[in-house]
Amino acid sequence: MNIRPLLTLFALALLPPVMAQPAPETPTASQAIDLGSGAWDGVVNIDVSVLVPDYREPWNAGQPSGGSGTGFLIGKNRFLTNAHVVSNATRILIRTSNDPEPHPAKIVHIAHDCDLALIEAEDPAHFEKLKPLDFGGIPQLNTEVIAVGYPIGGDRISVTRGVVSRIDFRPYSHTSVDSHLAIQVDAAINPGNSGGPVLQGGKVVGVAFQGFSGRVAQNVGYMIPVPVIKRFLKDIEDGRYDHYVDLAASDFPIENPAQAKALGTHGGGVGVMVADVEPAGSVGEILKIGDVILSIDDNPVLNNGLVRFEGELMDMNEIVERKFAGDKIKLEFLRGGKKQEATVTLKRFDPYVRLGATYNQRPRYVVFAGLVFQPMDRNLMDAHQIRDRTVSYVFDNFLTDKLYVERPEPVVLTNVLPDEVNTWLTPYAHSIVDEINGVKIKSLKDVQSALAKKDQAFIEIRLLEKSRPLVLKRELAEAAHPRIMQTYNIQGDSFVGEE
């Protein structure tokens, strides 16, 4: 079987260290595990067939592939696993350790931003008698945990043991743009462990989800802790996943005494500077660059952006993390040395999603006379390996330079499929479309509607920071279009999204 590595890697980045708490004694006697008892039947192997979308030839179905991970029963016919285990799945099969029978399953909810998914067996009968696993809390440092799952190295259930090494705010590599609380353990976590429970005292304290390759670091595995899991489960209670909410502001530590004095914090160690504010985010109308956040929901914010929360020093975002769209938080901040207070209604900040990997989505595109237009996102950038300086700049600075305000969905001319009609245009692939016949292109749909207008004899496509417009004579382009579609074996000339 083709095993896809389900544990993805990411580069080390140094974040402010978390203060280690002295760990109280919590003896956990090592007990032998009796597989015959059925106590472990709730931990299942998930065998997945996937179809990886093709962002180079977006009209094609993609590349069939497969993988395997772990999941566990948390309620009546409800299995929790990682989003990355079941992403892009075309078929999901559940197997338990004592029963060779595969059981087809389907996704109920999937949350890519926190790498969690809930799946159910199509026929629940087999799992009715199984006992769901219970959740614990945040385990303390240096306490023992076991990871249970179906990692590489064999077919049957595996158990590894270790201690909790660190509790920290970490990037989640599935989307590569989201960070949440994560717990580091030194129990071996290997490809295939993904989605499996990490247990302490018989209760689930996390879901194993990512680690480093042995060449980078030893004995470093990460699990998604209970607060993140609970948040996911609460979010979907209304039958819909609404995603995380975000302040959508960047902070800069106030370490410099002059900075502290000038901003009016007087160096008491409280208050972090607001260094960037997304106009489309939750605090876009509330905070300004140069403000100093003093507290968030009455939790004092330290000068490096940490708060003491549930006994631990954590990133202040952790308080926002636990909230849901529409929830309110109280902010206390300094502006021009004066203390102010505001109530913020939290919402999701959409533009950043484009910068992360997306799954379970059919690539969107428009093809016209051999010109292939696709919306700019990470999947597209990765697939096309775009080196063009303007496209790289727009992608890299989509948030930092607030480019999303003017152009919420930049459209890239990704390819020109050569034909007599477009032979002079082939060097202009990998450009951002600025205007078509005078219409500013803010989304892929704009391309479709601008091309559909037949009022002009020429189609003039202006590209961002490129020296000449691309010009097609409409009658020639329309005559060439079906020919090109046939030659290059393109089934449909556009897919702009489900209505």
Binding site: N256, P257, L263, N397
Partner: protein, 514 residues
């Protein structure tokens, strides 16, 4: 190993700058000369060739108060009238010591640069008058210049061996075109020739002769494809004529961007009939010759000085055939010359008249190249401010362009918005030295500076002035990028400045503004 790599990445902005040197330095060989072999060799043109030894030392672009390690360059210069020696500008770039050497006897005399043009890659050297200089030039006679070479002509590349013997490599000119030499900017005339060149140590200048006359200087040799590019005599003549009148103006440019119009649908869109000449003007540089003459973006350029410009942007040169229109101005005209251009604007032919000028490198928002002088900088309390230059960006290489460097590189290619805002140079925070006063800022670098103490910063002089007028006991530095605002205690900054002078970083001066 991977872990180590990750840490290196974190330190990218601090450690990855390396100035690019124009090429490998020739190894110095010391050998005792023997006279036995010399007599048998032909020495026809030897009386016009001298070896040129240069020591060059460039400034460190990242730590601008310091210089890189010196390196040696060697070349073969051509003696011209007035005992002046012609070499490529690469020979003279960042030179700390230049000397001339007679190929046979090894006699030497020091030299200095009379004129240099880095765009045209040419430099003229002179040895200060002395008895030594007189004796040195006594046996030398000037070589004359022949600009008549055409495609198909045979030329010879000259080199000298260890004892001054002449080594000749015959080549044939196969192509004439326009391309840039060693620095960013517009193209110059280039001969391309084919043939094998014997490899000797003289790497930075080699003369190319036609008969006994100078036809050009070697620009590059691709040994794999045996293709040579040559800096041709017409450009040398232009340079020498410009030098001769006492004030050097350089090569003029029009300052506009041409787009070929071969694409039939594009032609029809532009209103051009099939087989009609003309190219689209897609950009006009502010303040440059074309704009002064009234050229507008969107015009169709059909002729320059009576030469028709075809749909590729070429004209028919009487000597070379089809050649880029740029040469009409750059190679065939001088600064101050009149130029007449015909354009089609809104269907009508319009004649534009103007005077040719050259946009000096200093006039660019981002300095296109810099030699012989140190980069300008201001150091304040550990914060290093510089003006963006192309060499600074080039030092990062194409692969490392992301984040702040990508942002800065984009400004270099699209400077219009910043120029219109009145910026003369782009001042940015390039590095933070770990001083006590700059605590908390040491990971910053690459942020464009907008204001200091409320004053708009259009160049480093503005910055140096603005630091004199703090309104409080701290300086306020406003940046274009994250984290947007920095404060620096005025007293601590001065104290840190004093400590930096002569301290661990061996900083001799807190600024260079000349």
């Amino acid at each position: 190993m991977k872990l180590f790599t990750s840490f290196l990445l974190l330190a990218t902005s601090a450690s990855c700058l390396h100035a690019q040197s124009p090429g490998p330095a020739a190894p110095k060989k010391k050998r005792v000369l023997t006279n036995a072999a010399a007599a048998a060799q032909p020495t026809v043109q030897n009386s016009s060739l001298v070896k040129v030894n240069a020591t060059s030392q460039s400034y460190n672009l990242h730590l601008p108060w310091q210089k890189e390690s010196p390196s040696g360059r060697r070349g073969l210069g051509v003696v011209l009238a007035g005992n002046r020696v012609l070499v490529t500008a690469q020979m003279a770039a960042d030179a700390t010591y230049l000397e001339l050497e007679l190929p046979e006897s090894g006699q030497k005399t020091p030299a200095k640069v009379v004129a240099v043009d880095y765009e045209a890659n040419l430099a003229l050297l002179e040895s200060p008058p002395s008895d030594k200089q007189k004796a040195f030039f006594a046996g030398l006679k000037p070589m004359s210049i022949d600009a008549s070479a055409r495609i198909g002509d045979a030329v010879t590349i000259l080199q000298t061996g260890r004892v001054g013997e002449l080594i000749e490599s015959p080549l044939n000119i196969s192509k004439v075109m326009s391309r840039r030499y060693i620095v960013e900017g517009s193209g110059f005339l280039v001969y391309e020739a084919t043939g094998i060149i014997r490899s000797e140590a003289n790497s930075f200048t080699l003369p190319v002769v036609k008969g006994n006359k100078l036809a050009g200087l070697l620009l590059s040799y691709d040994s794999k494809n045996q293709v040579t590019t040559i800096l041709p005599a017409p450009i040398i003549e232009h340079f020498l004529k410009d030098v001769a009148d006492g004030s050097y103006e350089g090569f003029p440019g029009l300052g506009m961007e041409l787009q070929a119009t071969q694409d039939e649908q594009f032609r029809e869109f532009l209103g051009l009939k099939p087989n009609e000449p003309g190219v689209l003007i897609s950009a006009v540089v502010k303040g440059a010759s074309a704009e002064q003459a009234g050229m507008k973006k969107g015009d169709i350029l059909v002729s320059i000085n009576g030469f028709t410009i075809d749909s590729r942007g070429d004209y028919k040169d009487p000597q070379y055939g089809a050649l880029s229109a740029g040469h009409l101005v750059r190679g065939r005209a001088y600064v101050g010359d009149k130029v007449e251009m015909k354009v089609i604007r809104e269907g009508k032919e319009v004649t534009l008249n103007g005077t040719l000028a050259r946009k000096k490198p200093e006039a660019h928002l981002v300095l296109p190249y810099q030699f012989d002088r140190g980069p300008r900088y201001v150091l304040m309390g550990g914060l290093l401010f510089q003006e963006l230059s192309q060499p600074y960006l080039d030092a990062f290489g194409e692969e490392q362009r992301s984040g702040a460097i990508l942002r800065l590189a984009r400004i270099a290619t699209n400077p219009e918005k910043y120029e219109e805002a009145g910026r003369k140079k782009l001042v940015f925070l390039s590095l933070v030295l770990p001083t006590p006063g700059a605590q908390g800022y040491d990971k910053l670098g690459g942020q464009v500076v907008n204001k200091v103490n409320g004053k708009v910063i259009n160049d480093l002089n503005d910055l140096a002035e603005a630091f004199k007028s703090a309104k409080e006991t701290w300086h306020v530095i406003e940046l274009d990028d994250f984290p947007h605002i920095l404060h620096l205690d005025t007293f601590n900054a001065e104290r840190d400045n004093m400590r930096l002078l002569g301290g661990a970083y061996r900083i001799g001066s807190l600024k260079r503004l000349e």
